[in-house]
Symmetry: C2
Subunit: 593 residues, 2 copies
């Protein structure tokens, strides 16, 4: 049986000591988020994650979802857990007070979301997808649509989904075939088949609000002719009560590698009534509102599986007695030393820890920029934070999930053969984490988005601001001997990034394949440099207190050093690879494969 | 539905052009292995792999094995396939002619084994484990034991197993509790519980020959008091016929992440009759005979899953139409370009290809050294080849499986969401490949074996011979402009290895934790340098023919260049990491995790 304990100490350290969110009391929602309130929220969030959601994680994996007479039954306990979850107000933590939400900062919401995803990722997807659908309606919906849907989605009475993929079209949405025929009453009739719809049908809520991409006949070809529609599972009467079922049904559930607790549906739309969300043919814009939120959520999932698998590996490494330390027996009274004495076991645990704590910092740091972008009265601050959000979304999605998966594999490795057995729960973390590299845009697409779009947009304003921030940090701390190793890594990383960008500018425009060939290595390089900066910020925050009795701060500095010495060196090899260009990558004819 | 086509062309290229096995006609078994015979064997092997075993791979995964009234039922079709397999003589291909084997070189056997493992890894483990048990009896058994067991194991009438692990003891066999009490007739009564016994009970053969590690009461503590026993499932009468069942039974089957087609058993020994194999208390020696053979077999499995998953990813990448090439539309008549036009898809495929072909070369090269070690009349050649086998066994086991798994994950990624669905078969490759990093000694143990034992043994004779061989190659080809890039990588790699070994000698003896902390990075560094050497050998063999009409040779050179430019750069970061030492890795107290 796997365990999970929310890393509350690390979470508070980030919010209070590193991000110092009390400085943002001028922003709406932040003033209410006093340290006491936040602390109470995190403790309650930890309770529900640990006591309600985590015990259902393996149950959900084992049982999966079942399609019976068109209805999907979620695993035992999921419905009860969902009711507890929404009754506790967790589904509306950061939502608009106008529609019944609690209006708390996103940076607080993201902490709770991490706990939920670590405890039970498949469960967390149900409210998670409601949140993304909520955002799209909030931003692109008419007043009437907001009135109709938002409060019931915030309360968790209704849930939401995203319908993008079709059997022949995933990444390339321009190939989409689902049709939306305009009706006299202003509504549309939606027909087509959508696949890979997470939480597409289930028994947790009384209604499901599907957001569906479709093509209005006569519109432009390709992605420019795609619109987004609200298609409720049950139609809604004017008084808000539920009318008969709409023409959407679950054709089948996908049998998949993991996230068995979440229902991945084939949804058939047969003349279903839909309502245009936003403007005609502007569906991609609205879709990206959802998508960007979802991508950050997926990055968070990558971290969440790395964190929970790490905790289980660390516990096992402290308990399992096997062999003796090569530098001399550590526990002579035991039949063998616990395996945590072995350097290679430490290597795996420290790799995970250095990633988890660094990635958590970057995630919360980015979420805070999300709050600033949304709420700051200072226009230039707003723009910078918004730029950061755009720049970091593909990074967090892809880097966190590539690494989150790799570290779940590492954690499983710590348990040896026992990690391969289902009962341990370790292999479930690996299987669940695996989807995060794929969905909401496969990681290769994220890399291309980063290199092909985000780096260049507004003449590179976002990445230049980030590099300037790194430069400012270096200038400010270059005399600090205790921080020298961390400042050194930031300096080196900044140089690598500049080198890589110079190479991209020189080659990527002439030969776009050079940019494509460089994209994943650039993304990983950028990930390492961003984490180096986070580790420097954390080291600085820990530095003053590291001399005290509390080992938390000195451990933070030790882990920071491990990151620089043992994780960061990969940055140089990513740089070398990306500068090799596309030639050898593209040299073979397609038939040769 | 997944596909598999044995890479016969690449296999012949390695045997004939790179290894030039016709030069070894002086060794027993090699003279018979004419190019025509080998070609016929490989074609027949491909047939059985592709037509008999591969179609059962997904069936085996889906159905798994079932324990019914103490008997294990293998998946539908496995028994028929096994009969076809042994009737074709495939179980005795490289076995001693004295006991009915065909006496072919190991280097030929390994090619067939690769096909079998690619087609159906879980199936391949049944004859594979028989082969390892066969080796132990061949080398350590008495004449009577050889007479009793070998011919029936070679014919496949009986199968074999290895019984090492107990619930509380895996890596640390010194903790073993299974007891072997001497009887008056010279036999022993074996009692205890063994877990993770692959192919421990099944319906494929009429008898199963368990090789069991156990402790004779009164012997030395720890691993020095362990002996190896032959414990047949059915006792054997003097005339070779089967007597009643022995006191060994399958307590349960493990539910595991993958290799569902193979029965992973808990075996309970209750006063089972066993026969000492080799000397009392010398079980570890005999165990290592099996283990080393098994470790090479596991390395081969890593390659096999990378190869088969690559083939499926490449086929999908050529078929799936999605998006347009960023360097300009390639197929204007199609609704979209096949995804193989996208550099990041190429990156994943080329990474796999560069590994597969390089690893295959190293595996066959090592297998040929195994033949030379066994059969050469030249004592110094024999010693060198034997040294190489010792040195390369942990490398092949761990490097091939770390990478084999990573590449199966890459291949799955090429299919996007479809790779996460069970039907595609891609996620099975990932789940099956995952065990290879764990069993027969987790990869961390291999790294420790390499750095702590194999590098140092006989004053470093093996690694020094290897470095000398690299140096000779460089000297011989340093003027060759067409090979310059490959000779350059070998030169660089040799320097890295020497640098790493210098660091290890300086630090590892003073602080063994420094050696432990360096072990996995050293192993990966060594893997990259070994593959760089293989790629140089292949480039040299392809060079002369690359100008002709056959693209095979020019593709080989292109892939070689990709390896140097896009895979090899990781070597430098492994070197940097290993030289960081153990300090930051070991700095945290165990309780801090």
């Amino acid at each position: 049986m796997a365990i999970y304990n929310a890393p509350l100490r690390d979470m508070s350290f980030l919010l209070n000591d590193v991000l110092q969110i009390d400085k943002y009391a001028n922003l709406p929602g932040f003033a209410d988020a006093t340290p006491d309130l936040i602390s109470a929220i995190l403790e309650e969030g930890a309770k529900i994650a640990q006591e309600v959601l985590q015990p259902l994680n393996q149950v959900g994996d084992k049982e999966g979802c079942h399609l019976i007479d068109g209805e999907v039954k979620t695993p035992t306990g999921f419905k009860g857990a969902y009711d507890t979850f929404v009754q506790g107000g967790w589904s509306g933590l950061t939502a608009e007070p106008e529609y019944g939400g609690q209006g708390l900062p996103n940076v607080v919401g993201v902490v709770v979301n991490e706990m939920v995803a670590s405890a039970n990722m498949a469960f967390g997807m149900y409210p998670g997808l409601t949140g993304t659908a909520y955002s799209a309606i909030l931003i692109h919906g008419s007043d009437a649509q907001k009135q109709t849907y938002l409060s019931k989605m915030i309360s968790g009475q209704w849930s939401g989904t995203m319908n993008l993929t079709e059997p022949h079209c995933g990444t390339d949405l321009g190939l989409m075939r689902t049709k939306a025929e305009p009706q006299d009453d202003g509504s549309y009739k939606i027909s087509g088949t959508k696949i890979f719809v997470s939480a597409g049908e289930h028994d947790l809520t009384e209604n499901i609000i599907h957001l569906v991409l479709a093509r209005i006949p006569g519109g432009p070809d390709g992605v420019k002719g795609i619109s987004l529609f609200i298609v409720p599972k049950f139609l809604i009467n004017d008084d808000g009560s539920l009318a008969p079922r709409n023409g959407v049904s679950c054709g089948s559930l996908e049998e998949k590698m993991g996230i068995h607790g979440n229902s991945t549906c084939v949804l058939n739309y047969d003349q279903a009534t839909g309502y245009l969300l936003g403007a005609e043919h502007k569906g991609m814009r609205a879709m990206f509102t959802m998508m960007n939120k979802a991508r950050l959520g997926v990055g968070l999932q990558g971290l969440s599986q790395s964190e929970v698998s790490y905790q289980n590996a660390a516990a096992y490494a402290n308990e399992r007695l096997q062999g003796r330390s090569i530098s001399g027996t550590k526990f002579p009274d035991k039949p063998a030393d616990p395996i945590i004495v072995h350097p290679d076991i430490r290597r795996m645990l420290m790799d995970q820890r250095a990633f988890n704590e660094g990635a958590r910092a970057l995630l919360y740091w980015t979420a805070l920029h999300g709050d600033i972008a949304l709420k700051s009265p200072d226009e230039s601050e707003k723009i910078k934070s918004d730029d950061y959000m755009d720049l970091l979304t593909p990074l967090i999605k892809a880097y966190f999930t590539d690494k989150g998966f790799a570290h779940a594999v590492n954690a499983q490795q710590v348990l040896g053969g026992h990690g391969y057995i289902r009962e341990s729960g370790m292999e479930q973390f690996v299987r669940d984490a695996r989807i995060t590299m794929i969905y909401e845009g496969a990681n290769g697409i994220q890399a291309l988005d980063l290199v092909g779009r985000k780096l260049a947009s507004d003449s590179g304003r976002a990445i230049l601001a980030f590099l300037e921030e790194l430069g400012d940090f270096v200038k400010q701390h270059e005399g600090d001997r205790e921080l020298a190793v961390f400042v050194g890594a930031v300096t080196l990383g900044k140089g690598y990034l500049e080198d890589a960008m110079g190479w991209l500018m020189e080659h990527g425009l002439k030969n776009p394949d050079d940019a494509g060939a460089a994209s994943t290595d650039f993304l990983h390089l950028f990930g390492l440099v961003s984490l180096a900066y986070m580790w420097a910020l954390m080291a600085k925050a820990a530095q003053d207190k590291a001399g005290g009795d509390d080992p938390f701060y000195s451990n933070k500095l030790k882990t920071a050093r491990y990151f620089v010495e043992r994780v960061f060196p990969d940055a140089a090899s990513h740089l070398a690879k990306l500068k090799a260009g596309a030639d050898s990558m593209m040299a073979l004819d397609a038939e040769a494969f």
